[in-house]
Point group: D5
Chain length 103, copies 10
């Protein structure tokens, strides 16, 4: 199952710089683990904002919830989960051309 | 350049069924052309809604505007464009592991 | 998988009464089929509003989308899907008392 | 009487971990008491969010207010109460098939 | 049980005047019946707007829903129901002074 | 003149319990004085929320402003004032039946 | 008593030009009557918008409601009424300097 | 040039009373200076709220910005500026009757 | 004086294509006149949307209002006017470097 | 590529004045560097608000993100990026008259 997750990050401006750096390092480490497990499929930064657009894959809703909640920055995130299915246009492509161009 | 585009479709409920079908067929044809040109990279349906989440690639903003505006359903769409760049976590992955797992 | 779906109904006030009645009958028939299939688990009316709160079960997101979209009133519905998992309090209950009281 | 209650939890990120754990334990204990009393009928976690969707039963509005307000996390909750009645589709089911499938 | 109901009226500007007058007459007749039955306790007009603030009493949620839905203008109303209980200040008054001043 | 006032209370969760109790006691005392003066006519608690719905009577706007602002919890309140007049349905009742049923 | 009223005008774009002109003429005539009666004290156009900011004076809320509702464009207006009292700074001016500069 | 300015005041509830009083006194002094200079033409308090509705006159946008920003409470204000011009109804009045009634 | 104006265009989807084309041609002609007069300084299309971001110069608010209202598409536009002044950073540039780079 | 960026500044009211001044000085220095590099093309202050409207030029989205994020006040900014392309009216001008009037 595929999910789009919009993420707004609100780390308080007055959090000590050391704590911010530590959070960012831990966030990267955990994100890479989730990518390795095939749960976090893609994540992008929204231009100009401290926000992200991401795509997640999970076999169950429980698995998705645990994965998102395991991010070290989770207490500072505003998260919006959107469940996705294949769009008819992408289905038509596959029926005609087979696999999608790699992405 | 990569862009996430959220799409809300508002085809009027009282549009004749024949016109609706025609619009959907034309939409699929055009979407597949845009996929072939590498402009529309992915598109998904939001579960339960007449809405889509999509990812577009374009060399210029003009190209992106022309591509989105060429959709036959464009007059019935509410469109929100979000410019994206690589997230630090994805950059860290590439630095460590090379390519991302295909998606 | 369990999903909460909030539904706002916007049948135009000037739709002929006969068509409204027909829609409502067809809606009930289809809802009962979805209940029989175990997809629509519960549905309530919001007091004073032409709106509903409902709980759906589905094995896949595709199944859920097809089920919701098969409602005859679907073109007149505004739908918000919320994926749900067990709350820790309900898990604690089950660990202590076994099954939840029937509902 | 049945009520749907949407709950947003906003425990401050800087509350000491010990206090957070204590609140969660107390919340579970109180929730289980309310479930035993038949007031809190069901509660789910919204996937990816610190939020809940719940169903409550009460003989009076006073009873409902007291039950919700007795949650130890109440000062950190944003609560939206929606009074519910049976939907015509569920009434039609009961008229035809008797009891609803257990849930 | 007491409920506050905020009502926004949206009769289309192009509805024939005769139909508008008819609706208003029927609305007044039905409102007076509901007042006689003790269901519609008070209703005021919001100054400058085609909107109302009203207080309703009902023994059950079903009764309330039926009462509101029986208004002839119901298809043109946007309705927000707020369940109410006694405020501590009003309880303190009654404990000290007995009945509230008539209103 | 009659006014409906919606009140949202936002006492900070970390205010010392003693200060909260003191505020509540002072609020009740002042509310009862305003009821005695015929300014605060009715006040109810919104079920499940720390919010109120209230009806106020005042000869002048200045009097209303002073009354609301004299509540000890005023610095923590979000207040929305709605000026009201008699609804045509209530006028029709009085013309036909005289006084409204006491409330 | 003084009231600020924000007005949004939504005359449908497809209303015949003749009807629009007629409405505008009637609106001006009625507005001037209300100005003569001292009820509509000032009215301005919001730059670039079909909207107005206005100040009204009335002895009673009933009088204000009747005045606003008597505008020929009323069925096309969205109206927000804000009751006003003297600001402490204006009171301080009057205490020191007497009358305000004419406006 | 004339501008309507809506002002929301958000002085933190926990600011020491002495500082609050000082701010209010300074605000009044500065407001009176701006009134003397003919920049702040009128200001009213919104009934029941810590908010204001005001009318400002300025020869340039720079002058208006400097005037508003010179208010001692400016760091605690949320400000919305609306540029205004004469409404056709007020122009019609002047063409017919000359000056507006003093206000 | 400089103003930023955000424009949302809502030409109804069912307006005949001929009328749409005519409107667009007339819009371009009028826009070019306003550019010649130095009133419409710059206008851009928002990527993917039927919306514009524009900068206008005017000596008076009346002039600005007349200019915007003279656009043939004006009845289909939602317009938001924001008055602008020089930013301190741009003033600092001019003080140091003289003219801004042409744009 | 051109981008319009709306900026809301939310420096906390209780930040020490010295830190505020330092931030402002650093902001001006960095803004002037970005202007020199041709990235920040124009920036204006919104009249009466601590907000800005700005135009940015960038060859890539990464460049734009880095430029905006390099502002010393960035942790206190709420930023909304809007990608822009030439409007048909400006294209028509250039086709007819060549360069736009300098701005």
């Amino acid at each position: 199952m595929l999910f789009s997750i919009d993420i707004q990050v609100s780390v308080p401006a007055d959090l000590p710089q050391g704590r911010k750096d530590e959070l960012r390092r831990a966030e990267t480490v955990r994100a890479m683990e989730l990518m390795k497990e095939g749960k976090l499929r893609r994540i992008w930064r929204v231009v100009g904002e401290v926000a992200g657009v991401s795509l997640w894959e999970a076999d169950t809703l429980e698995e998705l919830h645990a994965a998102v909640g395991s991010l070290p920055m989770y207490p500072y995130l505003k998260v919006k989960v959107t469940p996705l299915i294949e769009h008819p246009s992408m289905a038509a492509w596959k029926a005609t051309h087979g696999d999608l161009p790699p992405f």
